[in-house]
């Protein structure tokens, strides 16, 4: 198989694969690209590091800033929530205008006294599903 890499700062970055079938190599390339796409530069505790979307329990917007909440950390991101939403895959769902949750990190759902649907994440963070997003959340869970 021929490998061609073109370094051109004027073109949008892309990975193009010509293959006869969806082989293991193609799948590996696909998963590698997907993983790179879903990485975020996060700031926390005086250091900067890359985090993968899979590590994140939910992305929240608070006071004009966007944070990624992981199991134990609250990391600041420079991207806006709508930009993050565009990058995320099917395992994330919009909870409300300021929260996007990882479906695999949801511990449970509960009902609040106001009759709104409450979502509880495995790291203890809780938020409310907005009325506008209830249909979307239900659809994502196949209801």
């Amino acid at each position: 198989m021929e490998l061609k890499i073109v370094i051109d700062k004027n073109r949008a970055e892309e990975v193009l694969v010509f293959a006869h079938e969806r082989s293991e190599l193609v799948k590996s390339i696909e998963s590698l690209v997907e993983r790179c796409e879903k990485n975020f530069v996060a700031y926390g505790d005086g250091c900067v590091r890359k985090i993968s979307a899979d590590e994140v329990y939910c992305f929240v917007s608070c006071g004009g800033k966007v944070y990624a909440l992981t199991e134990n950390e609250k990391l600041l991101l420079k991207e806006r929530l709508y930009q993050i939403e565009e990058k995320l895959g099917n395992n994330f769902v919009k909870i409300n205008q300021s929260c996007i949750g990882n479906i695999n990190s949801i511990k449970s759902f509960d009902v609040s006294v106001s009759g709104t649907l409450k979502v509880i994440f495995k790291n203890g963070y809780t938020d409310y599903v907005s009325r506008r997003q209830i249909k979307n959340v239900k659809e994502r869970f196949g209801i």
Binding site: S108, S112, V113, S114, G115
Partner: protein, 140 residues
């Protein structure tokens, strides 16, 4: 600090939806003018109506924040929400002379308010609880 956040949220929600009050009032006045013979309003009545329904919608929208104060118990949230709404509605009705300020009438008004409040609350609560259970079923 936390309560300041909820107070801000109260004001924000109130401001977002307060305009709905006078719109609903305008629709009611329109219907009344079409259906009731010789229906008329003085300037003072119109002013009181607009102002009071504006404040009513403001309080109604803002009061929803009580139910989201995590460290409050369910009875406390419900009681605060109910009390604030009841006070706002009662003042609005009395100030517009939609009900007379007579003990007997106020008792009937209160009874109807309590019944409607809890009927709505229970209906919404049960519907969302059903959704919550179905979603939890999909999680496990």
């Amino acid at each position: 600090m936390i309560m300041k956040k909820y107070f801000k949220e109260f004001l924000l929600r109130g401001m977002m939806f307060s305009g709905l009050g006078p719109i609903v009032l305008a629709v009611i006045y329109l219907v009344l003018s079409q259906t009731v013979q010789d229906f008329s309003l003085s300037g003072g009545e119109a002013f009181t109506g607009i102002l009071s329904t504006y404040l009513l919608a403001f309080v109604h929208a803002g009061a929803s924040v009580f139910n989201q104060i995590e460290h409050w118990s369910v009875p406390k949230s419900l009681l605060c929400h109910f009390t604030v709404l009841y006070a706002a509605y009662a003042l609005c009705y009395v100030s517009n002379s939609w009900i007379p300020f007579v003990p007997g009438v106020l008792v009937v008004f209160t009874a109807i308010f309590v019944a409607v409040y809890f009927a709505v609350w229970i209906t919404v609560y049960l519907c969302v609880r059903r959704t919550s259970r179905r979603l939890n079923g999909k999680l496990s």
